[in-house]
């Protein structure tokens, strides 16, 4: 059994678990940054910027995410190749869209046709991260937008009364206080992000879903030392348990962070904490 679980193929499923964790680790901050940018844009004084922020939030929220995942990866890929084509091959005469085909010159292919395998893989991974970040950025933007509006108006007025500029008010008063309002929404998003990771499979990354299907399938003695029947059910059961555990741990951690953030805030939770301490 121990031997079976440490074959080369099984090592790749463990790496793909790490890939999932890596994806989460990279995507979460980027999505948060996108969200912060979107929320600030949506409440900006400059009208076009505000429109941009609001459209971004509204557009991504209205459409099933999976459609976005399928759409963005091809769209981003083509956009990158189109730009590189324009820059690298100025002398190219033929139209790029020939009917249903998308043709760019060899030098503009992304990644280059002769690039090593790992470049292809990490390029796909990078596109996946960007797609996740764009979609979850919109949700985060919505949460943060709400949180910024939830900070009591009196707090901002006090800051203005102290002579702080708009920028100072934003960074010193609004931003530190908004997190407590944003956290329930953000932790919800985090849970959803965890549960969205299997969709990587659809983006063509060789992730845990791919390996579970691959390894679980019926193996004949001719190709492997460990023949077995159709075990895909057990592999997916393992994945199910993995995700359940991950969710449970996240729940506990989020509860901890929440109780820390509530400390000293002018909310019902903060009040309750103060009473409990006193």
């Amino acid at each position: 059994m121990a031997c079976y679980l440490t074959t080369g193929k099984h090592m790749s499923i463990y790496t793909s678990v790490l890939t999932v964790l890596l994806l989460l680790g990279i995507t979460a901050p980027i999505a948060l940054a996108f969200g912060f940018g979107g929320a600030t844009a949506a409440r900006s004084q400059i009208t076009p910027l505000r429109w941009f922020g609001k459209t971004y939030i509204a557009l991504v929220r209205g459409v099933p995410d999976i459609a976005f995942f399928l759409f963005f990866v091809i769209a981003l890929d083509q956009a990158v190749e189109y730009l590189r084509h324009k820059v690298l091959c100025p002398g190219w005469e033929a139209p790029i869209r020939q009917g249903n085909d998308f043709v760019v010159c060899q030098a503009a292919k992304m990644p280059l046709g002769n690039a090593p395998q790992w470049v292809h893989e990490s390029y796909g991974f990078g596109l996946a991260v960007l797609t996740f970040a764009i979609v979850f950025g919109a949700f985060a933007a919505n949460v943060l937008f709400g949180a910024m509006r939830a900070v009591p108006r009196a707090q901002l007025e006090t800051a203005e009364a102290y002579g702080m500029s708009q920028r100072q008010t934003f960074w010193r008063v609004l931003v530190p206080q908004m997190w407590v309002y944003a956290l329930p929404g953000l932790s919800n998003l985090w849970m959803v992000l965890i549960k969205a990771t299997p969709l990587l499979f659809l983006l063509g990354v060789e992730d845990i879903v791919y390996w579970a299907r691959e390894l679980g399938g019926t193996k004949t003695p001719r190709f492997t030392d460990y023949p077995h029947g159709d075990w895909r059910m057990w592999y997916f059961l393992a994945l199910l348990v993995f995700y359940l555990l991950f969710t449970r741990v996240s729940e506990i951690v989020m509860a901890r962070i929440m109780s820390r953030l509530t400390h000293g805030q002018a909310t019902a939770g903060g009040e309750a904490q103060r009473k409990a301490a006193a």
Binding site: V63, I66, A67, A196, V209, A212, F236, L239, T247
Partner: protein, 268 residues
Amino acid sequence: MSCLQIIQDYSLRAVGIGERLLPREDFTLCHQFTLIGSGMIWNVYFGLVALTLGFFLATALAMGKASSRTLFRKPSEWFIFLFRGSPLFIQFFFAYFLFLNLKSVHPFFEPFTAAWLGALVVLFFNTAAYSAEIFYGALLSIPKGDVEAADAYGLSGWSRFRRVVWPTMLRLAWPGYTNEAIFLFQSTALVFFSGFPAWQQRGDALYYASYFADKTFNPFVPYPILAFYFILLTLVVISVFGFVNKRLNRHLPQNTRQKIRLRPNLIR
């Protein structure tokens, strides 16, 4: 070929009526609109049936979770955690292979390996778990006075539940439940991407949209069409649920009525 002809051939393709072969070349806008629209039949079917069945199980689960008896509470809590804590995508895969294995044990499970029943069961349990959590939250926020008044009138047991607790729970839960319905319809798009095979290429809207994207290498036409259909579906769901919401709130004074606030749609 005129557009009318295409609509005749393909508008019911997803349920197996009409032209057998999918178009292979000369994809017109009309082809894409018709076939993707025909795929929406499955999305509507999955969403509608799962939502209707899930509603009853959700009520039972919410009552179970709010119960003081451990015998009822624990199973409900576990059920809800199991389906809310893991990705729907993995649930689909697991269920499909589970049914495949069960099929060899007993032929009774034969239909479960097809999407129309197997995926439906998963969606049914899934939406039941999510709605149960919403209903449970609403159950906890029923005004104390309402229940006390019911007690004072001598209502108890089933009649108290039917006349006071349940309507109030629904009224409070309805905005959240509307969102849940929207999510459910959107997550039906996952079905044919998660193990369940599309028999004779009878797939849902996303299945056809990705078929076109694959064939034409151009995602900019089929996916916006898909988005258009889903937005349409979402608008229908919102208006139907808004109508019910109005009815549930009809005894309240105008200014205390609960409005439905739409929350972002999320993957499960």
